[in-house]
Amino acid sequence: MFKKILVPIDGSETSWRALDQAIHLAEKFDGELNIVNVIQPYNNAALLAVPLDQATITQGNTELEKIGDKVLSMAKEKMVGFKGKVDFALEVGHPSERIIALAKKNGSDSIVIGSRGLSGIAEFFLGSVSSKVSQYATIPVLIVK
């Protein structure tokens, strides 16, 4: 239990709190942390208004990857004092699907996730990543506020 913890982060306040909580648990249970940031390509209302040629898509994706890398480097800064094993990953795709697939692939035994991410009003219509993950994952999910 809490030997291999998956921590999806998106750079929001709650996701940093989730990371803090995960560090706490990993220290107590002597666990390993897998920190992941999932970027979703062309999930952008502005992109719907412009013609989708390959150049625009590539440009959008490289921008997203830059943001993803920044989030992960922020996470790395936070993990400086942590003694246990930790790794970082950047994934591309649908967030809740990728998180669940990654938990399976890594053989994680728990997921620690922030309750509300960056999306705000969109979440009200689309449903939140955290509630999807908590309903569909087969392992215990800790939702942090």
């Binding site: 239990m1 309750s115 955290s130 509630s131 908590s134 215990p140 800790l142 939702i143 506020k145």
Partner: protein, 146 residues
């Protein structure tokens, strides 16, 4: 950090799994576990207790051993694990999710551990599950156990 852990139970197996999970965490953090059962009044999805037909049957039913209640089941699990700091609560409310959130505020709970799906499998699909509501509405971290 985790002084009080709340475990809502409804008689389902996942709820008892949640209780076991809570005890593992509780041992590490030396926390008090509060087990709560919210009874829903006028729940027509449950069978009513059988009424005795005549006096002889009434006597027999009084003699027969009572089925253990939901909290009794929880109690036997904590006793089997030898967990000392446990408290049991029983409340009645039409909306379990709301009552659980109230208990969290009243008793200054640090973490909620609950099963993802209770006894209402089909109803849970249509109405929305208690665990989803609780995880969105309470202020403390929530662990959802399968």
């Amino acid at each position: 950090m985790l002084k009080k852990i709340l475990v809502p139970v409804d008689g389902s197996d996942t709820a008892l799994n949640a209780l076991k999970f809570a005890m593992v965490i509780g041992e590490k953090f030396d926390s008090e576990i509060i087990v709560v059962n919210v009874e829903v009044p006028y729940d027509y999805t449950k069978l009513p207790p059988r009424q005795p037909k005549n006096e002889i049957e009434a006597e027999e039913m009084a003699k027969a051993p009572k089925e253990p209640s939901i909290l009794d089941n929880a109690k036997s699990i904590t006793e089997a694990a030898g967990y000392g700091k446990v408290m049991f609560l029983k409340t009645v409310s039409i909306d379990p999710a709301e009552r659980i959130s109230e208990v969290v505020v009243q008793r200054e709970i640090d973490m909620v551990v609950m099963g993802n799906r209770g006894i209402g499998v089909v109803a849970g699909f249509f109405i929305g599950s208690v665990s989803a509501k609780v995880s969105q509405s309470v202020e403390c971290p929530v662990i959802i156990v399968k």
